[in-house]
């Protein structure tokens, strides 16, 4: 019925994949996708005509995730205490040897996972990524470079050196 709905429908699998890679949990991922779609429908008029729909949706989803994450940050310590999971810190510093690329990927921090998914998997341009993150192009490239090094080291089973902690 609505033209936008059809376009949204096609992108839902990609949004769900991105959401899972952020939340690492399928059901909260779907909640995230749902609120992203709501916001997209409400704010459709605000979208700049020339910007890519997929990049626009990714940016809404990413922001919603960060907001939710910020809100729950005060519970993070408690969560970490019970589960031993530490989402708030760049996880590269953990000395875990990854068995597969996916496991290595899961150990990266939030922004690194988003960056690699956008660039390596979805094939977004650096410029689109720069707009999503609202940072200069050069910053995207240096963060991407660090994300890639981190993934490389984790996949190789190298124990990450403390120097990798200087992640911005």
């Amino acid at each position: 019925m609505h033209e936008l709905d059809e376009q949204l429908r096609e992108l839902i699998p990609r949004l769900r994949r991105f959401a899972v890679s952020l939340t690492r949990n399928p059901s909260s991922a779907d909640d995230l996708v749902q609120s992203t779609l709501e916001r997209a429908i409400i704010r459709w008029a605000d979208k700049r005509v020339e910007s890519d729909l997929r990049a626009w949706l990714f940016s809404i989803l990413y922001r919603q995730f960060l907001d939710a994450h910020r809100r729950t940050r005060r519970y993070a310590r408690m969560l970490e205490f019970f589960t031993g999971r530490d989402d708030a810190q760049p996880s590269v510093e953990r000395t875990v040897i990854a068995q597969s690329t996916l496991q290595a990927f899961d150990q990266l921090n939030t922004e690194q996972r988003a960056l690699l998914l956008w660039v390596s998997v979805e094939g977004l341009s650096y410029k689109e990524v720069a707009e999503i993150l609202d940072v200069p192009l050069g910053t995207v490239m240096s963060r991407l470079s660090r994300a890639r090094q981190a993934l490389r080291q984790l996949s190789d089973g190298e124990i990450a050196s403390p120097s990798l902690r200087i992640l911005k």
Partner: protein
């Protein structure tokens, strides 16, 4: 145009197919002559490939009907209609303030139910939460000071702390006879009780101490020091033992 030796950024741009065609060719020639750099680039390419393969499966999840855009659109419409309706009720109630206000409501109901406005205020503000507080306080002292700005020598805010309830927010309301206010108390379980104060209306007059319940709410009311008061809480909520004013 890239310069040689290539920067690390150029190498990444190459991996991501974001170089100009001419630059890409220059870089490929360079890589052919520098196997160590080429090995690094291939490792990144390989990682990207593995990542695409690993995440490919995530595209094949069974559909979730809750995510259908048409459905979400309908839900948004319903919600905004509901909000509009609520806003309209509030607007009417507020804008009629000069002519009849809450009083108009009371007339349309079997009249003379004491402190119906207090119960209505509780419903709107404590249960539906549709308007932000005019005043948020820490502790009873500051809330009392806020209330004293509007009400002269009225009865003090009841101290419900023995039952775990403390004042959290205050709202000013209007009645035909002048300003009214509702102070909301909350206990650690999130249960709510309101204290309502208003000038006595011509209908309401001064009230004998009493209580009544309606639509799932209970109100205790009394008069004193020139005002009428009510304490309103949900009927299913055990009334704290304190209520001795």
């Amino acid at each position: 145009m890239i310069s040689l030796p290539p920067s690390e950024r150029d190498l990444h741009a190459y991996v991501d197919h974001q170089l100009l065609e001419s630059d890409r060719r220059v870089l490929e020639t360079y890589l052919a002559a520098h196997p160590d750099v080429a090995a690094q680039v291939h490792a990144w390419q390989h990682d990207a490939q593995l990542l695409r393969a690993a995440l490919g499966g995530a595209l094949q999840q069974p559909a979730n009907p809750d995510l259908d855009p048409a459905l979400i659109r309908q839900r948004i419409k319903r919600q905004s209609r509901r909000h509009l309706a609520k806003a309209a009720v509030l607007l009417i109630a507020v804008s009629l303030g000069g002519i009849g206000g809450w009083h108009a409501r009371e007339v349309s109901q079997p009249a003379q139910l004491p402190m119906a406005d207090a119960m209505q205020a509780f419903r709107l503000f404590a249960q539906d939460g549709i308007m932000p507080a005019d005043y948020k306080g820490q502790g009873g002292g500051t809330m009392q000071a806020w209330l004293d700005r509007y009400f002269n020598q009225a009865h003090r805010l009841p101290d419900l702390s023995a039952s775990g309830f403390t004042p959290v927010s205050g709202r000013l309301l209007t009645t035909e006879q002048g300003a009214a206010a509702m102070v909301l108390y909350e206990d650690p379980q999130g249960r709510r009780i309101s204290f309502y104060i208003r000038p006595p209306g011509p209908e309401n007059g001064f009230l004998p101490r009493g209580s009544r319940s309606a639509d799932g709410l209970q109100a205790q009311y009394w008069s004193g020091a020139g005002y009428n008061y009510a304490v309103v809480s949900p009927a299913d909520q055990p009334t704290p033992a304190m209520l001795k004013f």
